[in-house]
Symmetry: C2
Subunit: 207 residues, 2 copies
């Protein structure tokens, strides 16, 4: 093959690339042009895979980077260390923590229901606070699944929140009523997980 | 129904809850006991849904909260504002940015390949740096999919990295060779997206 032939082949490749990208650009621009509404988005991140809570906290980090005001409610989580909380609390994010720990550790339906009620009460105030641009309700789904919290109360608080406020709900097995209300729903599926291959949960990566 | 009957029904519910949670606890403890290895994990977050990059940056936030050293490489991304970068750079995270913008905007295969090469060169140094506890390769998958970067080079750099170093790769359509090498793979599926319903990409939430 001569050098000249090589060059023409590359030219064809480059031209095809340019044409494909122009088509893509047209498609993207049409979509962007038809998406002009600005308002608070309800996003749910559910499914069995790793990355739901980190996506939630990552969005708070993103919001802070634009000078937004953020708050986080951690359902289930106990008093143990949480890397995100260590960082975000210092940066001004308001945290409410249910502080009971896993349901399989407490095994106490009455106490857990009470703790959920107290934590939800704080969440409701956040969802009514027009000064908050974004609220993360981390692992809320389990509260509804365990009947610690009626889904109607969650739906009502979400519907009545300030119009500009974004809300992110994370956790497995999200209730259908919340999925229906949501603007954006991502389902994180676990294809594989290091833990299943014998790797321990590690500080700074898994919590 | 008498008050006495009400109480017994609740008692039965509470007892059943306790028994179910004890079973769950046993299952969790068996799993935790068999996962004792501590080492750097390669995690890939792929799929079409929203939340891949925020999960990546959220994990960096988590790592910082435990005093870990983190770096991020942003492939594709241009010079525009990025909420996470605004926050994490100030907290000491090293950033390398490809700075070309979307392929449909540049439409230039030769220039994009060169920019990718330069950015990958920085990424390789990070993947060889034992002082880094975690490296995020944001949107790397597209570089391989577009043949800007040979997958063998990525595999080689990942295999030869320090044993304790965690790596996160994000982006759609991840190459099979990377998926096979990964310890943890999450696929984020889009169930619905506000953008499709006419909501604009908003600062502090979408970027």
């Amino acid at each position: 093959m001569t050098h000249h032939q090589d060059n023409s082949k590359e030219d064809v490749k480059n031209e095809r690339h340019q044409q494909r990208q122009q088509k893509l650009k047209d498609a993207v621009e049409t979509k962007v042009a038809s998406a002009q509404e600005e308002r608070g988005v309800l996003m749910i991140i559910t499914g069995n895979g790793k990355g739901k809570s980190t996506a939630g906290f990552g969005t708070l980090t993103r919001a802070l980077g634009h000078g937004k005001r953020a708050a986080a409610v951690q359902f289930i989580k106990g008093g143990w260390e949480c890397g995100e909380r260590n960082v975000l609390q210092k940066l001004g994010v308001d945290f409410a923590i249910m502080n009971t720990g896993f349901t399989w550790d407490t095994q106490d339906r009455v106490q857990d229901t009470l703790a959920c009620e107290q934590t939800w009460c704080v969440a409701e105030k956040m969802l009514a606070d027009a000064e908050l641009d974004i609220v993360l309700l981390d692992e809320l789904t389990y509260m509804v699944a365990y009947h610690y919290l009626a889904v109607e109360r969650v739906v009502s608080a979400l519907k009545n929140r300030p119009a500009h406020q974004h809300v992110i709900i994370t956790g497995r097995g999200c209730h259908r009523a919340l999925l229906e209300l949501a603007d954006t729903v991502s389902e994180v599926q676990s294809i594989k997980h290091a833990f299943e291959a014998g790797v321990k949960a590690q500080a700074g990566f898994d919590y």
